[in-house]
Symmetry: C2
Subunit: 163 residues, 2 copies
């Protein structure tokens, strides 16, 4: 009987663990959505260090019309150039957020609006879309491993790399 | 002693399961890399139906300079237009492939080369990068949920939506 009880308790623990994992996935989605929105606020505030800190040490940003940027220094330099534009205003919001069942990998997809001044000093507005891949860190927070975006507007148009 | 044996056996099963899961992740990475390469071959062969079949029913492709394309019909139409270009030649290869610990979600990142004829009939070559998010289906195969790409070349340049 002791053995049967132990088996029963084992199954009970497995069932509860399985349920708890599903609850965590919903929590992970909410946390990841929040991380994406917080990243947008940091970018809007021209906080270059905060923007860079959201990316992992080996993470990459893939802007249009320029090669892939990998690592903190390349990303910091790019963000610094972009936010220094006198007309800079950037915002985005996720429309799709999902995570793996294991809660270690997730992605956000959404739309952005970027306002900058072109080379002639004229204000231009770009609108587009993005996909960001995130990894949950050992501390439980989410960080960017790959971020890519492009414009919805027809060519020729403004893109974040054209300043 | 029986109880202790059962506990020992339980831990042994957990340890073996944990190891087996890690082995599966390597297998998943290989399968996902292969799925991405196969998708490139299908695109190169101008196989519009095969290209569309690689995407889930609600999956999206996010090309530059056009709004997001969601669902089979929109993707089929876009792929049909692109492959009909007389100069069409497309290839890509993944440089980074990773999956979640649970093996249900993964992504590929890589580089592409697209050759088409512009509106004047002149051959142009675009080179760029992409991020594709994949979901493992119930049958074990991987399908695309989001695919986004953009050019490495400075503006103004050719992009897949400019024909």
């Amino acid at each position: 009987m002791k053995t049967l009880n132990l088996i029963f308790v084992s199954f009970l623990i497995m069932a509860v663990s399985s349920y708890a994992q599903k609850v965590d996935i919903e929590g992970d989605r909410a946390a990841l959505s929040n991380a994406d929105e917080e990243w947008s606020k940091v970018a809007a505030a021209k906080d270059v260090e905060g923007f860079t800190a959201a990316v992992t040490e080996t993470g990459s940003i893939l802007p249009p019309n320029t090669p892939i940027l990998t690592g903190k220094e390349a990303i910091r330099q790019w963000a610094s150039n972009l936010t220094a534009n006198p007309g800079f205003a950037l915002s985005w919001r996720p429309t799709t957020v999902d995570v793996a069942n294991s809660g270690d990998l997730g992605y956000t997809v959404g739309t952005y609006e970027l306002k900058i001044h072109d080379a002639a000093g004229n204000p231009v507005t770009d609108r587009g879309k993005y996909v960001t891949v995130w990894r949950k860190q050992s501390g439980g927070n989410w960080k960017v491993v790959f971020d890519i975006f492009n414009s919805d507007l027809p060519l020729p148009t403004m893109s974040p790399s054209q300043q």
